[in-house]
Amino acid sequence: MKAKKIATLILACAMALSATACGNSGNAGSAAESAPSSGGASGASSAALEKADLVWAGWSGEEDSTKAAIKEIIDSYNAKGGSQVKWVGWPYADTQQQLVIRNQGSEALDVAQVDISMFGALSQMDILADMNDLMGKDYLTKNYDSAALTVGQVDGKQLGMPWSIASIGMVYNPSLLAKVGYKNPPKTIAEFEDCMKKLKAYDKDIIPYGVATKEVTMASDFQPWLWTFGGSLLGKDGKVAIKGDAAVKVLDWYKDLKKKGYIQMNITRFDARQMFAQGKIAFYDDAIASRGVAKSNGIAEADLSNKIKPMERPVLKEGDTPQSAMWGHLLVVFKKSQHQKQAADFIKHVVSEEQSLKYLKSNDMLPVLKTALANDAVKNNEWDSAWADITKNGKTLEFVKKSNGAELNNILVEEIQSALLDQKTSSEAVDSLDQRLTSALG
């Protein structure tokens, strides 16, 4: 009997171990197979490269709002007669997980669209090819916006090619603000609070500021405010630097806004977008694509300029730099790809002036090519040029390049929520944040 129990246990352990072993078996030989044939091939044209079948993975080709634009990019490249690109898509929320899974196996995967929030974890996995080798560092710095290139750089390597980079800034409802006497958006925090007070007095059902107070969007909305108050999560040495007056002040400010009814719990950026379109929120944090979102949420095209405009984040005192968090999409090439040069050539097509200006027109996503940014289509468009200005001061969110960024963001969200719910004082929340982040960063 005892022998049977032991035999059962051994069999179960063997099953568990084989499950783990199979998970690693797909990686054997992948590094040797995927080494690029030579470096710095920026001069190679599509015609000179051997034709290949490429797989481009992501999520935009599945969503109704961007499907047509992605198809146009792929069809226009395929029409050149060189390599042929095929799209493979997943929902946005599952893309990172799927990329990780597929990189374990032998499935063809050459180029992927990644969000800036996914890039950190993928870049730490040693599965991404260096664009400096594929395209040439000089070519990249000469042709692409430097702030955008920085977003895709890790330890001197260009592991992600920026496709569209803009800041998460703030947007406001001009018609609502006009009703309380604000013809222009507030510039300082004092003006911002005054505006919110007047909005609340005007209509008690309005949530003046739809800042995210739930889920990961709370972490990305909080950080620019922390920078505004002079604080930061990490120091230049990469160690936790949250402890200090600035963090306590910003948490106290959040608590005060909640107490006065200017912000509300349980709001994500998704919720804020919907409620903004219904005129229930006057300010919230979003990116350049927010105008398209407002339109799809029911605001008529003719009303857009009256209902949504970008603004610089209010500053603590006049003269301070308005803060914003960099956001965007990057394109990556996988080390295991057998056609890295062809993949790089396709990326050049995607971010080219012609394609990126079409993408801007259809989806309000800013280009990264210098010539495209200088194009009249960007400069003469009030919305796009305002975002381009906001993006100039954009900073990368502090956990975005950490492999355990999701865990760190969760810690940040939990502690902010505990302060907002009065489970902790601001000081206690900051102390707890300091301890937990230090432990998580190792």
Binding site: T8, A19, C22, I101, R273, Q278, V293
Partner: protein, 276 residues
């Protein structure tokens, strides 16, 4: 003997209503959202007076949704049938035969339920790749059968345990061979248990997101769960009104199955619970 006093009956009724509200409120809200115009999605009110069927009309006019339903129906029916068949034979084997390693193997099958499906995803994905089944319906069907088998085997074993061995003995005396004993005597008696496992397997396959998202990338073969997510849940926005309408529509087959076959489902799950 326990007496059901009036107070007890009132308490039971109130408790049942509370449980019912707790269980059915999300469903009610889903239907409520499906019947409201998109602009009212986030309003905390019922649809009365403002009801619209526009969301349902859009769902039924969407060729994508209908294709996903067809794919899901195909995969779910085949996997539930295959899982039920294999579970019947396995359960019968464990119940009526005694051989070396039987108990060890039974315990291993039982322990297989302890593995979270997400952990096995990578292993199964790599296996399907090596067998060149990735991207095919067979990869999904085999995965769903694998996850339904432990529960199915144990449920049907309990069912077969209740069938007296005398049935088999008397059939043998009458000259029946094993195929006749299995297919004409024992399996018909285990049909309620088989139906419960078939329902379980069908619902499991119908609702699955993770495996269908990973093992199928071709849009033409996509099943319901990933199809709905990709169609209605975007990076910037989600179409909740149509999503809720689509959810109501795709829930209908499962609701109908439970409505007509629930007695078999309950009988199958409780088989062997009471001795004798």
């Amino acid at each position: 003997m326990f007496e059901k006093t009036r107070g007890f009956k009132i308490f039971t009724a109130i408790f049942a209503v509370l449980i019912g509200i707790f269980v059915f409120f999300p469903l009610l809200w889903m239907i409520n959202t499906a019947l409201k115009p998109a602009a009212d999605t986030f309003k905390i009110n019922l649809f009365f007076g403002n009801a619209t069927l526009q969301n349902f009309v859009k769902v039924f006019h969407s060729p994508d949704i209908l294709r996903y339903m067809g794919n899901s129906l195909f995969v779910s029916l085949i996997s539930c049938f295959a899982a039920t068949l294999v579970s019947m034979f396995a359960g019968f084997s464990f119940s009526k035969f005694h051989y070396v390693g039987r108990k060890t193997f039974m315990s291993t099958v039982m322990m297989a339920q302890a593995f979270p499906q997400a952990i096995l995803l990578l292993t199964l994905y790599l296996m399907m790749q090596k067998m060149r089944l990735d991207g095919s319906y067979m990869a999904l069907i085999l995965s769903y059968v694998a996850f339904t088998l432990p529960v199915g085997t144990w449920t049907l074993k309990a069912y077969f345990d209740q069938l007296p061995d005398a049935l088999i003995e008397s059939a043998k005396i009458d000259g029946a061979g094993w195929p006749r004993i299995i297919f004409q005597i024992l399996f018909p008696l285990a049909i309620p248990g088989a139906i419960s496992i078939a329902i379980y397997g069908f619902v499991w396959s119908w609702n699955d997101l993770l495996y269908s998202l990973t093992l199928i990338t071709d849009a033409s073969r996509r099943t319901l769960a990933p199809g709905l997510v990709m169609k209605y849940m975007g990076e910037f926005n989600s179409n909740w009104a149509e999503m809720m309408a689509a959810s109501v529509v795709v829930s209908a087959p499962v609701v109908l199955i439970f409505a007509f076959l629930q007695k078999y489902f309950i009988a199958g799950l409780t088989a062997g619970a009471v001795k004798g």
